[in-house]
């Protein structure tokens, strides 16, 4: 069954049926991500519909700071790359030493992204761009905010994984969860590219 296990996963020399057990969990997580994608899809659709519903309130030209957005994009995409390095460490070395440092770098980059995003939200609010101002701003805050909430959850998950590795070591279950966290983290990149294209670049076009 091992040929059906995920290629990025090193389940150890005496793998047994751990590979086929993983298959069920990984597939289930893909299904979860698909469902989550629907939630984002609905909010994207809603945002596009509400783009003109500004009710005289501020719009992208007064609210967006593209330099900050570019920086956030860079941080988030780099964090995905560093998570990839953690996954490679998991696959080839299979030791905590090969995984934990990259996990820490990823978390730091993610936290940087979040800090910039929060700063942008605060600056938008200071210019009257609060979600209570217009239907457009409600849609904007919830779409971008939900992604930010996901990033926050991802950081929390990374902390839990670090604790799990510290307590239990790299057991098969821990490895599988690292793989799921990776799927989740790369998925957030995908959503962010959508937000960058539709909300930020689309809004300034």
């Amino acid at each position: 069954m091992s040929h059906r296990a995920h290629p990025g996963l090193n389940l150890g020399a005496a793998q047994g049926d751990a590979g086929s057990r993983t298959e069920k969990t990984v597939f289930g997580f893909w299904v979860f991500l698909m469902s989550d994608m629907i939630t984002f899809g609905i909010l994207f659709g809603h945002y596009v519909v509400m783009q003109r519903a500004r009710a005289g309130g501020p719009g992208p030209e007064t609210l967006f700071d593209l330099r900050s957005v570019a920086l956030q994009t860079g941080l988030l995409l780099t964090s995905s790359f560093t998570y990839g390095l953690a996954s490679l460490g998991l696959k080839h070395a299979g030791t905590a030493r090969a995984v934990l440092p990259w996990l820490a770098v990823t978390a730091a980059l993610g936290a940087g992204f979040l800090a910039l995003e929060l700063r942008d939200f605060a600056s938008m609010a200071s210019r009257g761009g609060v979600p209570q101002r217009s239907g457009y701003l409600s849609a904007l805050w919830v779409l971008v905010g939900l992604h930010g909430l996901h990033v926050t959850m991802g950081l929390f998950w990374m902390a839990v994984m670090a604790a799990l590795i510290a307590v239990q070591g790299l057991t098969d279950r821990v490895k599988t969860r690292l793989l799921l966290l990776g799927l989740y983290w790369h998925f957030l990149d995908l959503i962010w590219i959508g937000i960058l294209s539709v909300v930020f670049l689309g809004g300034m076009a």
Binding site: G28, V31, I42, M50, A53, G57, R133, S134, S138, W141
Partner: protein, 690 residues
């Protein structure tokens, strides 16, 4: 926020209103609240008196066993169904008195139709379907459990906490009055400032997340845990419908989660998604809600179609006709159902071309549905049909559902829809499809699998009486509403001034009375069958000469379902084995069975989720933070648990199987025509060809 209980205080109960103003209207709401309180107290007292807390906790509430979780789903749906039916009866009683007035206040009546719809869709139909799937699918595909047994508990817990909130709304405060769809802007903070809409939001939101997770679990189970040899086109038809329903749950429920969350933000945080001012757009609510709402209709009806497929083949003792066409039809319905949502609001301002597209898509759904009806009829044709209780439901379904489907095609025509929209015709239509479709199907399924779950059959005579009462009561209670709709009576109207409506209202009232009698008869059927369970016992597990794998194991099945995982060579594998004379064979080798240990996680999520909902309804922020933290903490702690499985040694499994086989060898096999006799212990006579 100074008050420790937010905006909740003693004036929230209906009792003080009754004391101040002892009218019939207040008596009804106080009586309902009292029923909830007394019902809960009586349950607690009975559990204590019979020392059942321990078994309830150990064997049920903490069990990750899919069979028990399935049964708990159905029991939850049953409790909510009691309330839903009684509310329907109260509404009909009000309606016959509603010529220029009525016994209930308009506000109370609005709460009734809102809770009735919410309960019947979210807390009866959905958990019935999820419960039946949970129970039957792993058995049908030869699996030991669901893919994620503990997640299964969590799904049930979230659904139960939502149901608990709806029940609580009878005692504390009032429910929303916006119908089961709760359209803003009426349900926004400006026009509905009280806690009523928030009850709906949190009940539907929590149970919606539960259903999303349940859908994932079911889909992964069917994709990944099928027994060796069970290819997709060897799956029983019920499993196929379960797969389609699960996929639809995964895709549709996020929409309702999003729309309720957005409505909550509008109400609590002053956002402008759906408000009248500052750019809000309520049409977006209608769109997002119905992107969920329409697939939901098929989520609850497809598994009923699955049940009809199983019972028509079993009770006609004949292979299902047109299996492949049924599979294609089911998938077609699942796909097209995502492209019809707009027919719920043809009159809300789109141009004619858009209406036409959605109208045509809606009519198209009738085609695969029609294919199914013909397939079932062809299955019965020249079969050796036994007129059992499930077949009675099937017969009622054939005639009534086709009728309801045809009125659906009528409504799908936008031009006609402009005349009939928001009239009693619509009420008649959706009851006409959901009652004979979903409800009769679930009743048939419960009757069919009840012996598998509990080891004894339901009393056939009493169940037959119950079935006939449901069919008769349905006809009388809902068919007159078509007539009322055509006469122009609007739906959801608390009173009317046209005396011409009265005769039909009285007919419908008579129907409601029969439906209440059917409900009583249903309870009596369960009660009397349980008392007579020794005579009805069928521990050997195959009382109906079944065709799929679930009938090959004992009743109730062992916790791990199968002593040895079966291997499958064809559709209807158990029938094939019986025909070849090779059922009940000892396995070549037995394996250790790895089963998940019991855990309280589902219960923690249920209790904390309920507390979270209550806190958000009443603005008790400290409780919201506390219960949210409890859920997160429990899930994180669970991640650290390592001792989550226990192993049942192969020798123990083998011994249990040999005991079962010994019982089979000494039992008397019963022919199909004698299956209602007490001699039917669950061993079908292989000499009767299928």
């Amino acid at each position: 926020m100074g008050a420790p209980f937010g905006r909740l205080d003693w004036s929230a109960t209906p009792f003080d209103d009754f004391l101040r103003n002892p009218s019939l209207n207040e008596a009804v709401s106080s009586g309902a609240a009292l029923t909830v309180v007394l019902g809960a107290a009586a349950t607690l007292w009975l559990l204590t008196r019979h020392h059942l807390w321990g078994p309830l906790w150990r064997d049920w509430l903490t069990s990750p066993d899919h069979k028990r979780i399935g049964i708990m789903y159905v029991v939850l749906a049953g409790v909510m169904f009691l309330r839903g039916v009684l509310e329907g009866a109260v509404m009909r009683t009000h309606q016959v008195s509603a010529l220029n007035g009525g016994i209930l206040s308009p506000d109370h009546y609005a709460q009734l139709f809102s809770t009735h719809g919410t309960i019947m869709i979210f807390f009866v139909a959905t958990p019935l379907v999820t419960g039946l799937i949970n129970f039957a699918v792993p058995l049908q595909i030869g699996a030991r459990d669901m893919a994620f047994p503990v997640l299964n508990q969590v799904s049930l817990g979230l659904t139960a906490s939502g149901a608990g909130l709806v029940m609580l709304s009878l005692v504390l405060g009032q429910f929303g009055t916006g119908g089961w769809t709760m359209y803003p802007p009426f349900t926004g903070a400006t026009f509905s400032p009280g806690p009523g809409v928030d009850y709906w939001i949190w009940a539907v939101g929590l149970s919606g997340i539960g259903s999303t997770l349940a859908g994932m679990n079911i889909a992964v189970t069917i994709y990944k845990l099928r027994a060796p040899g069970m290819t997709f086109l060897r799956m029983p038809m019920f499993t196929w419908t379960a797969l389609c329903t699960a996929i639809m749950m995964v895709y549709a429920f996020p929409a309702v989660t999003a729309s309720t969350a957005m409505l909550a933000l509008d109400r609590v945080a002053g956002f402008h998604f759906f408000t009248n001012d500052l750019g809000g757009n309520m049409m977006q609510y209608a769109n997002i809600f119905w992107m969920f709402g329409h697939p939901e209709v098929y989520i609850v009806v497809l598994p009923a179609f699955g049940v009809y497929s199983e019972i028509s083949a079993t009770f006609a003792a004949k292979r299902l006709y047109g299996y492949n066409s049924l599979v294609i039809a089911t998938m077609a319905i699942a796909v097209v159902s995502f492209a019809v949502w707009l027919h719920h609001f043809f009159t809300m301002g789109q141009n004619g071309r858009i209406n036409a597209a959605f109208g045509i898509a809606t009519m198209v759904i009738a085609v695969p549905t029609g294919v199914k009806v013909y397939d079932w009829m062809a299955t019965l044709f020249r079969g050796r049909v036994r007129i059992t209780v499930p077949i009675i439901y099937l017969t009622g379904f054939f005639i009534l559902f086709v009728f309801g489907g045809l009125t659906g095609v009528i409504l799908a025509n936008p031009a006609i829809n402009y005349q009939l929209h928001n009239s009693q015709f619509v009420v008649a239509h959706f009851h006409n499809v959901l009652v004979p479709g979903t409800l009769f199907g679930m009743f048939a399924g419960i009757h069919y699998w009840f012996p598998k779950a509990f080891g004894f059959r339901l009393d056939e005579k009493l169940a037959r009486r119950t079935a006939l009462l449901w069919v008769a009561g349905f006809c009388l209670a809902f068919l007159p509403l078509y007539w009322l709709g055509l006469m122009g009576m609007p739906r959801r109207a608390a009173s009317y001034d046209n005396p011409a409506f009265q005769p039909a209202m009285w007919l419908a009232f008579g129907g409601a009375a029969i439906l209440v009698a059917a409900l009583a008869s249903l309870i009596h059927t369960f009660w009397a069958s349980a008392r007579n369970r020794a005579a009805l016992a069928c521990p050997l597990g195959d009382p109906w000469d079944g065709r799929s794998l679930e009938w090959a194991t004992s009743a109730p099945p062992p916790p791990y379902n199968f002593w040895a995982i079966p291997s499958v060579r064809a559709l209807d594998p158990f029938t094939l084995e019986k025909a070849e004379g090779t059922p009940y064979a000892e396995a070549d080798a037995y394996e250790d069975v790895d089963m998940p240990r019991h855990t309280a996680l589902g219960m923690i999520v249920a209790v904390a989720g309920g507390a979270l909902g209550l806190a958000m309804v009443w603005w008790i922020w400290w409780l919201a933070v506390l219960s949210g933290a409890a859920i997160v903490g429990a899930v994180v702690l669970r991640a650290f648990a390592t001792n989550t499985h226990e192993t049942i040694p192969a020798a123990e499994v083998a011994a249990a199987h040999r005991r079962f086989l010994a019982a089979i060898r000494t039992a008397r096999a019963i022919g199909r025509d004698d299956e209602m006799l007490p001699a039917n212990r669950g061993l079908a006579d292989p000499a009767v060809p299928a």
